[in-house]
């Protein structure tokens, strides 16, 4: 795979990010840059600090130390919608779907399409279903917009969660374990979607335990261990073996 050399301004730049929960130091001195159109794999064992880092980027809570720059501007998120407003979309590991609603209702949750009748605004069911069907088509997912999410397979749910990120013109899409609970064919679909995002200049951050997936799509791999960044290597300069030893701590840093 050809690795484009990142040029210009990073879409997201983290500088010396640290986070403490009481006496627990979850993150310490993390520097990280992601450029437009770049796919970065974030790897690490459980408790390495991946989730904390993702939650800081997603705006769930602010960091204790350090600075976040988005498009060169220093920012401070207090709520997830703040992050979404600047163009960061997150696919959460538990997908954050409302089971009792339809696929299209979930895709548009919080940003429904409406039609105005005088002082009232009513949901535009037709337009939302049509757009949702289009998005599912792009994702190669056989998902009907009007089906309830509780009746869906793991892959369909994943498609609904990913379709959500395609509604706005996101600059950075963070995916937390998007391939953990789905079929082989659907894994391929998710990976090809990541390729498509990359072609459109969207930066992608992929958190995954699955080494083959990470090596299939990522340009760069960042390894976290014990709350610190231990490696940040282009995919061509490393190997699954090296990454494994970095994750487990057999190799301290690279």
């Amino acid at each position: 795979m050809v690795t484009p050399q990142p040029t210009g301004q990073p879409v997201l730049a983290l500088k010396a990010i640290g986070k403490e929960f009481g006496a627990i130091r979850a993150l310490h001195g993390v520097d990280l840059q992601i450029f437009p159109g770049e796919v970065v794999g974030l790897m690490g064992d459980n408790g390495a600090g991946k989730s904390t880092l993702v939650k800081i980027i997603a705006g769930n809570f602010p960091p204790s130390h350090g600075e976040i720059r988005f498009d060169g501007n220093a920012i401070r998120f207090t709520r997830p919608i703040d992050a979404r407003a600047v163009g960061i979309e997150v696919v959460y590991q538990d997908l954050a779907l409302a089971d009792n609603l339809t696929a299209s209702a979930n895709v548009f949750l919080g940003r429904e399409l409406k039609r105005r009748f005088g002082p009232f605004a009513f949901l535009d069911h037709k337009a939302m279903a049509a757009r949702a069907l289009e998005l599912f088509g792009e994702l190669r997912s056989e998902t009907r917009p009007h089906d309830l999410v509780k009746q869906m397979s793991g892959g369909q749910r994943q498609a609904v969660a990913i379709a959500r990120t395609r509604l706005s013109n996101a600059r950075l899409v963070v995916m937390d374990e998007p391939t953990a609970a789905i079929s082989v064919r659907q894994v391929e679909q998710v990976l090809s979607l990541i390729h498509r995002l990359k072609e459109q200049g969207v930066a992608v951050m992929l958190i995954s335990h699955r080494m083959p997936d990470v090596f299939a799509v990522c340009d760069r791999i960042v390894v976290m261990r014990r709350g610190e960044k231990r490696a940040d290597k282009a995919i061509g300069d490393t190997s699954p073996e090296e990454i494994t030893s970095l994750i487990t701590g057999a190799k301290e840093a690279a």
């Binding site: 709520r79 997830p80 919608i81 979404r84 959460y92 538990d94 997908l95 954050a96 779907l97 409302a98 089971d99 009792n100 609603l101 209702a105 949750l109 919080g110 940003r111 429904e112 409406k114 009232f120 605004a121 009513f122 949901l123 069911h125 599912f136 088509g137 792009e138 190669r140 997912s141 056989e142 009907r144 089906d147 009746q151 959500r164 391929e188 679909q189 990976l191 090809s192 390729h195 498509r196 299939a216």
Partner: protein, 360 residues
Amino acid sequence: MDTPVESPINFTNISKARWWQSGLFASQTGYVLLALVALFVVMNFASPYFLTEGNMQNVAKNFSFIAIATLGVTLVIITGGIDLSVGSMMCLSAMITSMVMTELSTPGMPVASLFVHPAADGKTVIANVPGLILLISVLAGLGVALIVGLINGFCIAVLGLSPFVTTLGMLSIVRGLGYVVSNGRGSFPGGPDADYFYALTSGSVFGVPASFIYLLVLAVAMAVVLHHTSFGRHVFALGGNEKAAALTGIAVARLKIEVYVICALAAGLQGIIISGWLGSAPANMATSYELNVIAAAVIGGANLAGGVGGPLGAIVGCVLLEVIRNGLVLAQVNSYWQQALVGVIIILAVLVDRIRSRMA
């Protein structure tokens, strides 16, 4: 590895749900409605009086007396909450309404001179602006409900208290306040606008009870809001997955407060209507009505776990309860059986839903 974008997706291995497996037909509301129709047929054969106009008017009137409050509670239940304070709320709103009405209609009372003046005979009073006293007293009753709803919502959404405990406390607080303001005596709507009040609450239009008309209007409005506005969509999302609702940017705290306020307002309006029918607002009015209201909502298909329910279900639940009560009276069964039977029906309705969702 890229699949071509152009090829259309097909649904060959995902069949579409049959019409009887989705929507109303697959819901608890659907088969409780079916049971209700069956009950009507049975009652028609069991008693010649059941389907008479007079009896149907009675049924319509009686079930609308809890149905408006049931709409409000159903809304709360859809978000995954509960409101136990509706019975007390009915009483306090009714009481405040009739007290304000009496106060404003008594010459000599503060500010009453703005609203009434004594008539030439010195005994009766005449309103300065007809209907204004009624409007202000009803707004006062609803205003109290608004405040109670805001407090409920604030405690639950902002302070994070459990809805059950908060509204259980509010049940007691509001009932207590009712006794305090009335000194336990209750109050009566009075003054020149009392006739309007009775006409609007216990009157009827072409034989249709006024309370039934209010119910229909509110139920239709609720159905439209729930299914065709983003407010309604967010109410369902909140009941389905509160965390997801928050992550997608829905203002969860605000939404919860709004829902509890609407519920309290519905209960307040219900209480005002009941007091018009009773002709007074006694301090023990609507005691334990919250249980009937919640029972009707649950029988009609509102799921206490959240995410499911609607106005049709609320009405069906109320009608079923009333038809059973009415039927037992017509069949000359000891009326004490009613309460036991209602309990059986609550459990039965939920049980059938459980069996159905296991089979699906």
